[in-house]
């Protein structure tokens, strides 16, 4: 316990450094630069984090670690499709931090002034997920174009749908899914329930699903990736702990959790 507390202190100070150089332009952090930095114990309150569905496992873990490092804080997550979360934030949802699975959805929030200067913290590539028994005997990407193979994809407005489409364009394939799901976890659920023969999800989702699905790699020359930006929102009701959480995600400790979950460096 003592050791982890030490590393967390180190992480917190690393976060401070990042906060100092990364977001000095925002009025948010310049208005109270000492609040987030005075000491970790000064932080309290609830941080509402709106995060892409694909971040669910990694962020849940980061949230628990953050709470342990800052007693008195509570991190509450709203996981969902990045496009939907961006709409919610622009409609005035009480969010403190937004972590999107694509720069496009982050830009939606930046254009309206809800967020300023987001920072990319991870990237992700796609992978084919099939049920453990692989009923349609899918072995490569081109199998998804077979008419007998039932494929689930994300709908195109969602980053995982847009990125999967890039993969098919790169591979010059036409894939007609049976369903366009709301977010990547819904695609994964349809695969693990065995209702579809294959789904295109993130590498990290296959890893997180364990033995519920089997992953089939997509060749790197046709694979596509998406970047994950994070930002503390300008109207965050709880700015100090919110900025501290953002900094924590961007810290070395945050990076190690994300790497363990299968995310790549941005």
């Amino acid at each position: 316990m003592r050791r982890s507390a030490l590393t967390l202190t180190a992480v917190a100070s690393a976060g401070l450094l990042l906060a100092g150089c990364g977001s000095s332009t925002t009025s948010a952090s310049s208005s109270e630069p000492s609040a987030s930095g005075s000491s970790s114990s000064a932080l309290s309150g609830t941080v509402n984090v709106f995060a892409a569905a694909s971040l669910k496992d990694a962020f849940t873990k980061l949230g628990r670690q953050f709470e342990a490092a800052h007693p008195g804080t509570k991190v509450v997550f709203n996981f969902g499709p990045s496009s939907g979360l961006a709409t919610q934030i622009n409609a005035g949802a009480p969010a403190d931090v937004f972590a999107s699975a694509s720069t496009k959805n982050m830009d939606q929030v930046v254009t309206t002034g809800s967020a300023a200067s987001p920072t990319s913290f991870a990237s992700n590539v796609m992978e084919i997920a099939v049920p453990p028994k692989n009923p349609a005997n899918v072995t490569q990407l081109s199998d998804l174009a077979r008419s007998t193979v039932k494929v689930a994809l994300c709908q195109k407005a969602v980053p995982c749908g847009a990125t999967a489409e890039k993969v098919f364009t790169n591979a010059k394939l036409t894939v007609t899914p049976v369903t366009q799901e709301v977010d990547v976890k819904s695609v994964l659920a349809k695969v693990s329930l065995g209702e579809v023969d294959a789904g295109v999800v993130y590498v990290t989702d296959v890893l997180a699903a364990g033995d519920k699905v089997k992953g089939i790699e997509i060749p790197t020359d046709v694979n596509a990736s998406t970047k994950y930006p994070i930002a503390t929102l300008t109207k965050a009701p709880n700015k100090a702990p919110a900025q501290a959480f953002t900094d924590y995600v961007l810290s070395a400790d945050g990076a190690s959790v994300l790497t363990a979950a299968g995310f790549a460096k941005p």
Binding site: G84, T87, Q180, E181, V182, L193, E195
Partner: protein, 288 residues
């Protein structure tokens, strides 16, 4: 606001003595402890609809509604809700009769169970449907093995989901009517030699006509608005399983104007149904 207090006053006037009626009317002003919450309730129900009308992208509306995907969703919604209502009618009316008339043990337990989808969150219904009729489901697996047919992600799947969620509305309405209907006519017909099926068809059903209509309308409206079970069980694919509520929800993520336009269409359809059935359903309900 006068519309709130006039109907009871008119009913009272019709059934009671003139003095009583006059005293009711003199007290016709709504006391404020009732009036204020009533006003809040009415505003609460109406303001969101006004918001929809005020924020509607009227200028872009024709363009959005002419989109083939929107028309597909509307057509799919109307077709699926109607088929689901027909299925609910054919299967639900007999079940309502059994629930109302059977003396068998455990019938009240059955009634509680079949009306469970009324209170069950629709998403839970969708998960349950997947486990029953999905490709790996307890019945769906057999269906797939024997016929090669799978229900999820098909238009038939949408109808299954909507029927599951909406049929209890019809059953509960019709069952109440069966209970309340006068058994004397049925007994008379039976005495005159009519078979039980003939009695059911020519006496019992016509007796509860208004309730059948009310039940069917409730069922249709619920099916039209179905979202949770549909997206869980039937997925989302334009033209095949993407009904209007799914289209509204998904459009909100990428194109809020389109979502408002689609919502307006659903609002118009709902109003049309209410207006079309005004008088027949809203005011002349039987004891049920």
């Amino acid at each position: 606001m006068t519309s709130i207090d006039t109907p009871p006053a008119r009913q009272a006037g019709a059934s009671r003595s003139p003095e009583a009626a006059r005293s009711v009317q003199s007290r016709g002003a709504v006391p404020w402890p009732l009036g204020i919450p009533a006003l809040v309730a009415a505003l609460f129900l109406l303001v969101p609809l006004a918001g929809l009308l005020i924020r509607a992208p009227w200028r872009g509306l024709p363009g959005i509604l002419a989109d083939s995907q929107v028309l597909d969703a509307l057509r799919l919604s109307l077709v699926c809700a109607s088929v689901a209502t027909a299925v609910s009618f054919v299967l639900g009316v007999p079940l309502a009769w059994v629930l109302a008339r059977s003396q068998a043990r455990g019938i009240s337990v059955l009634r509680a169970l079949v009306t469970l989808p009324l209170v069950l969150p629709p998403v839970v219904g969708g998960v349950a449907l997947l486990l029953a009729f999905g490709r790996q489901g307890i019945l769906g697996r057999l269906l797939d093995e024997w016929t090669g047919i799978t229900l999820p992600f098909t238009t038939a799947g949408v109808i299954v989901a909507e029927t599951f969620v909406a049929m209890p509305f019809l059953i509960i309405t019709v069952e109440g009517a069966f209970r309340a209907s006068d058994r004397g006519f049925e007994e008379a017909a039976a005495t005159l030699g009519a078979s039980r099926l003939t009695v059911f068809r020519t006496v019992t059903l016509p007796l509860i006509g208004p309730s059948l209509l009310a039940g069917a309308v409730l069922c249709w409206a619920r099916a039209l608005g179905e979202f949770g079970a549909t997206i869980t069980f039937a997925g989302n694919f334009p033209g095949r399983t993407q009904t209007m509520p799914l289209a509204v929800y998904l459009a909100l993520e990428s194109d809020p104007d389109a979502a408002i336009a689609l919502s307006l269409v659903l609002l118009v359809v709902s109003i049309a149904v209410l207006v079309g059935l005004r008088g027949r359903w809203l005011s002349t309900g039987p004891a049920a």
